[in-house]
């Protein structure tokens, strides 16, 4: 036999099976290119030298690992479609007298050809597009760096290694399948007669309960902090519910439709329902996978996109002033005038002038609210906890210039969410709210986005120390101390502001050495909004990039999985449609049936995903609040746009698939 016989045969088979091989090779190339780009970015020297890039490097490393795992699973999956389709052909070779080792040779050459071709092309595309992606990436990060064109040796090595390994494993699994199969089985391939699936009512009910419970949690959870802990419970319930419902619920639904004689025996429903019952048996799990994957993509992309777009808002929420200095009194007394003076000195030494300044002393701690009573709450119990922030009447006057007239246990109050009652008790003492304030001069507290915060003005220092002492007693080691906070807006460019904040930090930090009256713990800090902005953009930009990158990959994957599903179903359906045509179904009717069937299979998962997102919407906004994003309309629009883009890509693949499907059966 000619030496080139097997390679030639392999090339021919690849050409003949173009309908299957072409998308497969395209996927291989795409995945390899994306993996290379990820490696390229991860190992890029220019970026890794930037400040705050440590977390980015870790993030991108994680991304690389996700892509690697995903590539392996995904290529295996698409390969399984290929080999199932090819079984008949290989069986024929076997019957015509080829030994299994000859078939193994064909498969070997096929894998080599596909592997080498896609790795080389994939790397070429990767190298070609890496610069572009890098530019987008640095744009997201707001990094101003210029890069020359470069090739990552690390990226090439990693890609070569990873994909050679994947192709080798695919080859081995194919060989193993061929070795196990008998020629007759190969000839028959996947076409074995199937029984109508049974209705699994109990499974369907359990699925519905899981889904309902997940939705219930998602919709009724009010507090962002409990959302944080309950989110994964809800996600797992919904995932279980989705799998069970796709598997059992779909069949139960279709069967009940079938029982409705007037509905079932209509031209449009007749063939599609009976066909779908069988489809669902084979594909329910696959469709559930697609649904979960799409939901993940949508949540990931919309979440990261909202965070990124809303970063400016979030910054303003989190850091309303250019510079914020906070010191805790702990059990020492600090000299607030001395501290304030050192802050002012530091600012003027930097040549900046102050545009706005606020300084105040306050006490803030969290309590449990229970029916008009505030009591000490135990640690890690966020359920109905609320935050009380106290200042004295003098402090209020210092901040606003307004004098107020309250005595004893009378207070003024301002709340962000739930209003205070007219009287409330705290540590068994009763306070009367004599007036409600419209607004409050200090609103920088981060907790207010997450929890119920009440700002309370007390009549004098005596009441404040009394509350402090009661609180110290109730909480012991976990008690809070009064803080002194200075918030300043200054003039100058971002860089000047950052330098100034640095100087303020040094000045107040120096005091620690000289003066023991200023303790230094985590409650003591100097924040610069401009410095934080850089970190925000680095972090959120990194998130967004990863979200979009992985989102694109996953979307490509889902679309392709569906394409393969439909095409292989097309071959199974060919005979069915031939029979129907003989019995008197017209071309148009067949086209309509094909369209409605493919449409259903395509869009049921994405519709289910959209419903999941709708149910999760509220919970996700709560989670985003933890990450300082409170702009719900922004998140809504991001979700909608992402969903539409996703549906558009999907629609494109659908049109293509329906066309090919129709060609197969028609």
């Amino acid at each position: 036999m000619n030496n080139l016989f097997f390679p030639k045969l392999a090339v021919n088979t690849i050409k003949k099976n173009g309908k299957f091989y072409f998308p497969y090779i395209l996927t291989c190339i795409g995945t390899i290119a994306m993996f290379y780009i990820m490696c390229f970015i991860e190992s890029n020297e220019g970026i890794n030298k930037m400040p705050g890039a440590d977390s980015l490097e870790q993030m991108m490393e994680l991304g690389t690992i996700v892509i690697a795992i995903f590539a392996a699973i995904f290529l295996f999956y698409t390969n399984s479609f290929l080999i199932k389709r090819r079984k008949k052909e290989l069986g024929l070779y076997n019957i015509l007298g080829m030994e299994k080792q000859h078939i193994a040779k064909i498969l070997f050459y096929e894998t080599i050809i596909v592997g080498i071709f896609s790795i080389i092309t994939g790397l070429l595309f990767g190298i070609l597009f890496s610069k572009l992606i890098l530019l987008i990436y640095t744009k997201f990060l707001s990094f101003k760096v210029t890069f020359g064109f470069s090739v990552s040796v690390y990226g090439i090595k990693s890609s070569l290694f990873l994909f050679s390994a994947i192709f080798l494993l695919i080859l081995l699994s194919n060989l193993f399948q061929i070795k196990l199969a008998k020629p007759i089985e190969l000839l028959k391939g996947g076409s074995v007669g199937e029984k109508e699936p049974k209705t699994k009512l109990i499974t369907a009910i359990i699925g519905t309960i899981c889904l309902a419970l997940g939705y219930y949690i998602a919709i009724t959870t009010e507090s962002p902090l409990s959302a944080l802990s309950l989110f994964f419970v809800a996600v797992i319930l919904v995932i279980i519910g989705t799998y069970l419902l796709f598997n059992a619920g779909s069949i139960a639904l279709l069967k009940s439709l079938k029982k409705n004689k007037n509905y079932y025996y209509q031209t449009k429903h007749f063939t599609s329902i009976s066909g779908m019952i069988y489809r669902m048996k084979q594909n329910a799990t696959g469709l559930a996978n697609i649904c979960i994957l799409s939901t993940m993509v949508l949540v990931m992309v919309t979440g990261t996109m909202s965070l990124y777009i809303g970063a400016e808002d979030a910054l303003k929420n989190r850091y309303p002033y250019d510079i914020t200095v906070r010191k805790s009194f702990q059990d020492k007394s600090i000299d607030r005038d001395k501290l304030l003076q050192s802050v002012l000195d530091a600012i003027s030494s930097q040549g900046r002038s102050i545009k706005k300044i606020n300084d105040y002393k306050y006490l803030s701690f969290s309590v449990s609210y229970d029916n008009g009573q505030f009591i000490a709450n135990s640690q890690n119990q966020y359920g109905n906890s609320e935050v009380l922030t106290f200042i004295t009447a003098d402090e209020y006057t210092h901040l606003t210039g307004k004098t107020i007239d309250i005595t004893g246990n009378e207070v003024l109050a301002c709340s962000n969410k739930r209003e205070l009652d007219n009287t409330f008790s705290l540590f068994d003492k009763t306070y009367t709210v004599s007036d409600k304030l419209e607004s409050f001069p200090m609103t920088s507290d981060f907790a207010m986005f997450l929890m119920n915060v009440h700002f309370v003005v007390l009549s004098n220092d005596v009441v404040l120390s009394q509350i402090l002492n009661e609180q110290l007693e109730a909480y012991g080691d976990h008690a809070s101390w009064p803080n002194y906070e200075v918030s300043i807006d200054i003039d100058g460019t971002d860089d000047e502001k950052i330098a100034c904040a640095q100087a303020v930090d040094n000045a107040t930090r120096d005091k620690v050495k000289d003066d023991n009256s200023i303790g230094y713990r985590y409650v003591n800090y100097t924040h610069s909004r401009q410095m934080r902005a850089k970190q925000f953009y680095t972090l959120y930009g990194g998130f967004l990039f990863l979200g979009l990158f992985l989102g694109t990959l996953f979307m490509m994957a889902t679309a392709l999985i569906i394409y393969y599903k439909q095409i292989s179903e097309g071959y199974d359906d060919k005979e069915r449609f031939e029979i129907m045509q003989k019995v008197g179904m017209s071309h148009d009717e067949i086209k309509a049936t094909v369209r409605s069937q493919v449409l259903k299979v395509f869009f049921i998962p994405i519709i289910a995903a959209a419903i999941h997102i709708a149910a999760a919407f509220k919970m996700i906004t709560k989670l985003l609040a933890v990450m300082n994003l409170t702009n719900v309309p922004l998140f809504f629009w991001c979700t909608l746009v992402t969903l539409l883009v996703f549906a558009a890509v999907y629609g494109e693949v659908y049109t293509l698939t329906a066309k090919i499907y129709y060609k197969i059966v028609g």
Partner: protein, 258 residues
């Protein structure tokens, strides 16, 4: 009354770029009376499948015409062909062509559903046919749960349910054992006695011997025909066998005329 007229039918297959021409039907003319039971016999490649496909409006002739009830089916528009086929013709195939995704009942209903009939109408139509064909008790089973004979009876029921003018049977006994074959042929005789016109294409002498008339096709032309008259099945069987022997031994290449 003549229900089917086939006049000077000619069919030439040419390869995609018009290179090779294959003459499948040279010049076929015959007619079928209402209530007749006609068998068409011929060897593989004699053109009988082509003939059946043209009568079934699945294929178009190169020239000539086919009239069903005096209406030319060659000139029916593409859009109307499917409903024409559904309403006027019933089909019985060698490999049954039942859909595995439907129960027997739904398989039988298929052409009616395509015509947009209501469930009640369909049920009323089905009852007498199912009883006559003896499949009432297995009607809700699936094709893979019943025997070949039962499948073919379901297929006959599907052909009958539209009350067609003509039943076209393509090698209906081809996939059946002798017992089932006998049953099916008896059934064909019964429905023919009820007035149903049947046109059957077959290889099987046994099947053809039950028909009222047998047409022999060779090399794309009607070569010969035998009327049953008063012959018994056995006499008919012998007569057909003799004709086939003559057909096989006589060299008619070049010209098909006797």
């Amino acid at each position: 009354m003549e229900i089917l007229n086939v006049n000077n039918l000619k069919k030439v297959y040419s390869s995609r770029f018009g290179g090779n021409h294959v003459l499948a039907l040279k010049n076929v003319s015959f007619s079928v009376e209402k209530g007749e039971y006609v068998a068409i016999m011929g060897e593989s490649g004699s053109g009988k499948t082509t003939l059946l496909n043209i009568i079934a409006s699945l294929d178009k002739p190169t020239s000539g015409e086919v009239l069903l009830n005096g209406k030319s089916i060659v000139s029916i528009k593409e859009k109307e062909i499917s409903s024409f086929r559904r309403n006027n013709l019933g089909f019985v195939f060698q490999d049954f062509n039942l859909l595995d995704t439907f129960s027997l009942q739904d398989n039988i209903f298929l052409p009616l559903v395509l015509s947009g009939k209501s469930y009640n109408e369909m049920s009323t139509c089905l009852k007498p046919i199912a009883t006559k064909l003896g499949i009432s008790n297995i009607i809700s089973k699936y094709p893979y749960e019943v025997s070949g004979g039962e499948k073919q009876r379901a297929a006959v029921a599907r052909a009958l349910i539209t009350n067609p003018k003509l039943i076209l049977a393509d090698e209906p006994t081809g996939a059946l054992d002798s017992h089932s074959t006998d049953g099916l042929l008896r059934m064909f005789n019964e429905i023919n006695n009820d007035g149903q016109t049947i046109l059957m294409v077959t290889h099987s002498v046994q099947a053809a011997s039950r028909a009222k008339r047998v047409l022999f096709i060779k090399d794309g032309e009607v070569f010969h025909q035998i009327y049953r008259a008063n012959r018994s099945h056995e006499e008919m069987f012998a007569k057909i066998s003799d004709t086939l022997t003559i057909l096989a031994t006589k060299d008619t290449r070049g010209d098909g005329h006797e």
